[in-house]
């Protein structure tokens, strides 16, 4: 079970390993705040959808399992979206349409089909948590690099109250050299490519070790 959980980070990291959920990853990784907010939302949806789908796996007719998964996932996403809209309006505005698009995030349907429909409730919950944290981890990496290069600093505010800044720092040395390109989609692709290469290198090195 621990391996399931650990897999989500490096070996089967949903973003850098399985290349799932790329659309939202590239779009919302502009700031640390967005990354944390999106990561938590996806993780919550992933855990609950895995648990529910695993719980009803024995009574779900095989022919209509995909529509059932979609109904479960869409319900959870709608609930999360309404909660974010009500309690974290700032986050709701900055995430925009990508919050509702969690419905079609392949990580969630992928884990439902590949894992939750074949495994027990507890194992599915752990798998959801691991995958969700792996996704959040990938978002954090990309967003920190992008925010730092685009603005010369990192700012993080309390998602429940946007006026309250939890921490902020800026590198004066970096300020004159900020690259606004990194707040756009080109910067997202560049950052993503570098991390994807790094993760592939780590994986290939560890598999070579195992071979020896």
């Amino acid at each position: 079970m621990w391996n399931n959980f650990k897999n989500g980070f490096i070996k089967e990291n949903p973003v850098f390993g399985l290349y799932l959920g790329m659309c939202s990853t590239l779009a919302i990784s502009t700031s640390l705040n967005n990354a944390v907010g999106m990561g938590v939302c996806v993780t919550l949806v992933l855990i609950f959808s895995n648990v529910i789908i695993s719980a009803i796996r024995k009574i779900t007719p095989d022919e209509i399992r995909i529509p059932v998964y979609i109904v479960v996932i869409a319900t959870l996403v709608t609930i999360v979206e309404m909660l974010v809209h009500a309690f974290m309006p700032e986050l709701y505005t900055s995430l925009g349409v990508f919050l509702s698009l969690i419905v079609v995030n392949c990580i969630i349907l992928g884990r439902a089909e590949a894992f939750a429909s074949k495994n027990g409730v507890v194992a599915s919950a752990v798998d959801g948590l691991g995958m969700g944290l792996g996704y959040t981890f990938a978002l954090l990496l990309i967003s920190v690099v992008r925010e730092l290069l685009a603005t010369g600093g990192i700012a993080f505010y309390n998602p429940f109250d946007a006026t309250q800044q939890l921490f902020a720092f800026s590198l004066e040395a970096l300020k004159p050299y900020t690259i606004s390109l990194f707040s756009g989609s080109v910067g997202a692709f560049l950052t993503f490519a570098c991390f994807a290469a790094l993760f592939t290198w780590i994986r290939s090195r560890s598999s070579k070790k195992e071979a020896k």
């Binding site: 009574i59 007719p61 022919e63 109904v71 609930i79 309404m82 809209h85 009500a86 309690f87």
Partner: protein, 171 residues
Amino acid sequence: MKKALTLVLFLGIISAIAGLGVGAVNSITAPLIEERLLAAERENLELMFPGAEFSAIEGVSDEGGYVTGVFEVVNEGYAVKMETTGYSSSTPIILLVGFDNDGVITNVMALQEQETDGFGSKVFEDDNIQSAYVGKGLDDTVDLLSGATVTSTAVQNAITSAQAMLKDIIG
């Protein structure tokens, strides 16, 4: 046949449970969301309808896509916020228009505009916009301001679109 019925029944039950869940959460969050929407707009609304009570009307939209917010002013009428592009493509014109219960315009306010000085800006100077629109009913027409055609056309299109939408709301 029996198989198909089981499938339909299963998906129906799942959807019903899902609907119940969404409905339950919505009943908690809907008032909070409305409160947030109102809080952002309250300052401007107070300016237009001092001392009135407001509630946001959700799920309505106009054909032209100009309207960004619709508010019911209890016992007094409606306030519609809209956004349109005039001559300045970078800064949209944001308008707040007050209507009474019959849809007659009671007030027009430009919350934001950055139209060309001396041309488009004339639309918003000297109460020009108020004298052009205040008192007009849902079907009345308004003359464009010469020398500021682009801006006044933009304003007119937005307001006409909002009036058409309001017609449906008032019924």
